[in-house]
Amino acid sequence: MDAFTTHTGRAVPLRRSNVDTDQIIPAVWLKQVSRTGFENGLFSAWREDPAFVLNDPVYEGASILVSGPDFGTGSSREHAVWALQQYGFRVVISARFGDIFRNNSTKMGLLPVVLPADVVERVQAAVEADPAAEVTVDLVERQVRLGDLVAEFEIDDYTRWRLMEGLDDIGLTLRHADDIAEYENGRQRWLPTTV
């Protein structure tokens, strides 16, 4: 996973709520067995509509998605995160995220930023007014900056540290293999096995 400290880029406003993962990447795209090639599946049903915001050339190359509340609800498919990243997004800003989506994002280095709904709205309005406006998402300072707008966001220290270092969770957990082995010795004897 790539380390994330601070990112500056243009943003695209997605004025929809409840953007579930079936919209982010429809089920037909989930049949792949590789981790690549999902960018074409991103919002593929919505992208058929020429008026859909991602089809607007002024937002081409944007790397920050600014969405209505409840982004990434629904299915656990991590393909949603891969599709967003492979399309070129590094950050998604929303007032609320689906839990599993948020977890998946931080595992992969896509930063989910929670801002109050009115601040999200201001960011959306600003980039609608000036699509070339640059937005900075600063994980070190936990800030989103755009012109004279400075918005603080919360993220727990551990996740922030892991993202800033680009660390692999599995490697971190395996440092505690002894604790796992010890726990296993104390498990209740009637617990089932699949064999």
Partner: protein
């Protein structure tokens, strides 16, 4: 102060706790299917890691499988299923492939084998893992990176969510089901209402539910945004488990039951949030929109965007009506459907099929009607009871086990503009096939709808 059920199960599984870090939780059971696992196994191979506990892992083929006999025609689907076979063989994981007597939707087979037991932690790369919470297990969906994590370490780093009680007072009226209850709950608290919480369903109406009904309720916890849903185990739970292939036996059973009885929220425990709902006022519920929170009693009309004060909800309603091709004010009972689907991990168990059969017995369907058992074992049980004859006589299609029309990944899909009454769990845009329109309902309403071709409650027949 006392502890909630969720806290008890969580604490029992903490392998490591350190200041400022997520808890490392031990995972008792890891369920796997073909869609969210290939990249996880790849990751293991790339980093030279192995599966720590294949004996706590079980795999099945469900999302891609066609529900008519024969091989998978779609090449990409077939590759995905074959990849699962290779991966499970390489890492020594038990697999129930297509055609196997143990095959079925992942959340149906765990409980069916008795592998899901009270107080366990259960994960799967699938959001409806919350189903297993019906046994008083802590069960939640994870993404592919986390699947890889569990394969490699049998643990997951996680922060403990907050706890929410949903207190369901009174009794469900006759003809009102677990599905109606959970749809009503989601309509009340919203699709984000449970976000950040483990929900415990409590109260008289919940205690009276069968295990099947409890699974239906817990299954849809994720549709309210909750991390997990749980119901404290009781005699109903123990009776369901007794004698199942992986349930404890002999003295181990007695020990287990004694422990399981301690798995209830203490009287003096406090939840972070409490929601009340009165079961006795409920009627059959149906969704009109494109998220599971957009539901109303079947006797009402399609709402108007103006009914919503919140601008976000108003614009969501506008969009939903457009997608669904519905006009505000239309009585839901006037909405015509082309397809009825009974199945999925929400309502694909034997009790659901019995309920549908009771309505279809001696009647004829006027729509395309798919009845899809959630597992091969459910199929076998249904056939032993002769339910398949009832369905066939009514003109419905009786299929093999799989996810089927719950999601558009296998041959069972809606065509653009087609409308279904479906016992599944998601009415998202395109969920059942591109442009398809979904109304979520109970098996009873689905069956009654198949008879009339319009959204119908059994009592209307």
């Amino acid at each position: 102060m006392g502890r909630t059920l969720a806290e008890k199960v969580w604490e029992k599984h903490v392998v490591r706790r350190a200041e400022g870090e997520p808890d490392v939780l031990y995972i008792d059971l890891h369920l796997i299917h073909e869609v969210t696992s290939p990249q996880a196994f790849d990751g293991l191979r790339l980093s030279g890691r192995t599966v720590r506990r294949p004996d706590l892992t079980i795999a099945t083929e469900d999302h891609n499988v066609p529900t008519v006999l024969g091989p998978i025609a779609d090449l990409v689907s077939r590759t995905q299923v074959e990849t699962l076979r290779k991966n499970t063989a390489e890492f020594g994981i038990r697999l129930h492939p297509m055609g196997d007597a143990g095959q079925g939707v992942v959340h149906i087979i765990g409980p069916q084998f008795g592998l899901t037991q009270p107080g366990m932690t259960v994960v799967c790369g699938d959001s409806h893992t919350s189903t297993h919470g019906a046994f008083g297990a802590l069960a939640f969906g994870i993404g592919t990176s986390e699947v890889e994590h569990v394969l490699a370490t049998q643990t997951l780093p996680a922060y403990r969510p907050k706890t929410m009680a949903i207190e369901v007072a009174g009794q469900l009226p006759v003809g009102v089901t677990a599905k109606d209850l959970i749809l009503a709950i989601i309509a009340q608290i919203g699709t984000g209402g449970g976000q950040g919480y483990i929900v415990e369903y409590r109260g008289e109406a919940v205690r009276k539910l069968s295990m099947e009904g409890r699974m239906t309720v817990c299954n849809m916890s994720i549709e309210a945004g909750a991390r997990a849903g749980m119901i404290a185990p009781d005699e109903t739970t123990f009776e369901y488990l007794r004698g199942r292939p992986h349930a404890p036996t002999g003295t181990a059973w007695d020990e287990a039951v004694e422990y399981w009885k301690s798995l209830r929220t203490d009287d003096d425990a406090e939840f972070d949030k409490v929601v009340h709902i009165d079961a006795s006022t409920l009627t059959p519920f149906v969704t009109w929109g494109t998220n599971p929170g957009q539901g109303v009693p079947i006797g009402s009309a399609v709402p108007s965007p103006e009914d919503f004060a919140d601008p976000v909800q108003r614009s969501a309603a506008e969009r939903a009506l457009e997608y669904m091709g519905l006009a505000a004010g239309t009585p839901l009972r006037d909405v015509e459907v082309d397809t009825v689907f009974v199945g999925s991990c929400t309502n694909g168990r034997i009790e659901d099929l019995r309920a549908a059969a009771d309505i279809l017995r001696g009647r004829t369907v006027v729509t395309r009607t798919l009845i899809v058992p959630g597992s091969m074992q459910v199929k076998k049980a249904a056939e032993e009871e002769g339910l398949h004859e009832v369905f066939k006589a009514a003109g419905a299609e009786w299929r093999e086990a799989g996810c089927s029309m719950c999601l558009g990944m296998n041959p069972d899909t809606l065509k653009p503009g087609e409308r279904s009454a479906s016992t599944s769990n998601r009415n998202f845009e395109g969920r059942q096939g591109k442009g398809g329109r979904t109304h979520l309902v109970s098996p009873q309403v689905a069956a009654a709808t198949a008879v009339t071709g319009r959204l119908t409650a059994p009592a209307d027949l």
